[in-house]
Symmetry: C2
Subunit: 328 residues, 2 copies
């Protein structure tokens, strides 16, 4: 009798939803589940919701949580991979102090739990199994609530002293728009969904018109989700188009700057807005990048993240599997 | 009888001067020589001038060119390390097509000649022997005629697909000042000495006053050299101060953006202006960086390049020696 195949759980903990997958040893998704991220109850409620999604995903894969070799969690905020603690996950409601997410989940699921940074694990998934597969060096750009970045250089993740990849805080305009981080002129101040929503609310207060918030309400949302932006753009909403134009311009400049510095083989664009708006908008980012690219006769290809919404969960499972991102 | 110690030549080919050094196996400078870069005669005249500096430096070190184990040349422009050809060294007068600099020098000097990129070799010298010695990852920023950059990550030079390090073309202001490269809003458009001089000339044409050009003429110069800027700043020249303020602001933003992306252990600031203006201005760049630094509770230290004007020549000698930049 051959031994049972090794299975891994992967959890992508986001500000709006928890996406979980059960993944085989070669990266195939065998079951998945998702839940909205609890808006109240803080980290303990989030841990319970994660547990439920792991149970649902293992059900779908005809297995059980304690049969998983390990579960990986890609988390926003400050992740201490050694202790399994997450501190200050600002995008997750009520998460304002350190919480031992790893040990808590390990106890409730009956298996080993490994934490990683959400953007790093998503970059790794695209590198190993997605749009980054043909390359040895990529920049992953995750265009969603914020703008996150991950770097794979010469087949290995580059994390610097632990905080590398903050492409969202590239200064694209000295003295420019205020960013959610409190600084001025960051790429994220123009392209992050949260910043774009804040700007849209200010414009409405100033008397400008838009269908963005009607679409939001019709859909029963309280935030301008990627789907809301997509709808408004399809409806030719003027404010939505202007704000997205500015986002695309800032992304083009920020990505060009990053590539002038690193000269990688390819750029992968993911995140909620990146995957929702897809290739037509990645094409626009490509065009916005070109005028700023120092070596413009061989621009790095820009690809839409191939694993879409599941990239974060798959990447978290890869972290659980422990195989380092390595090729080159 | 012990064998003769191995000696290496290093040549820093710049737009205004050629600086050459004879360096021992452990990096000690045993002799040096410099000449202005020929303003006419094109690449052959430059090759002859390099030959003269190597002869003068070997004389000073009581040796001869053909007794050197190898000579390294750090060159601007597009360097083909395989064939020893330099194409389009725009900063060197009359160098507008490919010229076989390596083979030409090898023939005239009677020893092996190795080419490298000027900024890469200077970064390597600071990493191995200068201000970068204590670290495993650094960004070298060379603030001179232009703004060049070199990266050492995890003990190894990162050159990407061959063109990494162009920190001078980080977009710090979308739609901003025109850069010498033709693009808009680059860091170099504000901080490069050539761009600052062009801006100063435009301001004078518009009727603004400055002592910059008087100082230049008094010194028998035709360009605003680093020494001219230094003098004007000491004289409290208003235009010089304004332009340097803008340069410092742009450097702060560009360096912060690079570090938000890479999170290295230290930044080393060299180049003509960096070494001439020195620590007081590096301190100002540090202050200008802080408001844009995403993780600001442990900013990377900024150091003035420790090898000063000789860094490029020493780095070129290290390339000749062939020891890879490696530590960590």
């Amino acid at each position: 009798m051959s031994p049972a195949p090794r299975l891994y759980g992967g959890v992508d903990l986001g500000g709006t939803k928890i996406q979980t997958a059960v993944v085989g040893a070669r990266g195939k998704v065998l079951g998945e589940a998702r839940e909205p991220t609890p808006a109240s109850g803080g980290p303990p409620a989030v841990a319970e919701a994660i547990e439920r999604t792991v149970r649902a995903a293992t059900d779908a894969a005809s297995t059980k949580p304690d049969a998983l070799t390990a579960v990986g969690v890609g988390s926003p905020g400050e992740v201490d991979e050694g202790t399994g603690t997450v501190a200050q996950a600002r995008n997750v409601s009520g998460w304002d102090g350190p919480f031992p997410l790893g040990p808590t989940l390990s106890e409730s699921l009956g298996t080993r739990v490994v934490l990683g940074n959400d953007v790093s694990v998503a970059t790794r998934a695209e590198f190993e199994l997605g749009a980054g597969k043909p390359y040895t060096s990529i920049i992953g750009v995750f265009w969603g609530t914020g703008v996150g970045g991950g770097l794979i250089l010469d087949g290995r993740e580059w994390s610097g002293r632990g905080a590398a990849g903050e492409i969202g805080h590239t200064v694209v305009k000295i003295g420019g728009r205020r960013c959610g981080c409190g600084r001025r002129g960051c790429l994220e101040a123009y392209a992050g969904r949260a910043s774009m929503e804040a700007k849209a609310r200010r414009l409405v207060e100033q008397g400008e018109r838009t269908a963005l918030f009607e679409i939001m309400e019709k859909r029963g949302r309280t935030r301008l989700t990627s789907g809301v932006w997509d709808r408004a753009l399809q409806d030719q909403d003027k404010m939505a188009r202007q704000l997205i134009d500015q986002a695309v311009e800032a992304l083009g400049a920020g990505i060009a700057s990053a590539n002038n510095l690193l000269d990688v083989e390819a750029i992968v664009i993911g995140g909620g807005l990146g995957t929702k708006l897809g290739e037509p908008y990645v094409e626009r980012i490509r065009e916005a990048m070109m005028p700023h690219l120092f070596v413009d006769d061989r621009p790095p290809p820009l690809h839409v993240a191939a694993l879409g919404d599941l990239g974060g969960a798959i990447g978290a499972a890869l972290v659980a599997k422990g195989k380092p991102a390595s090729r080159g």
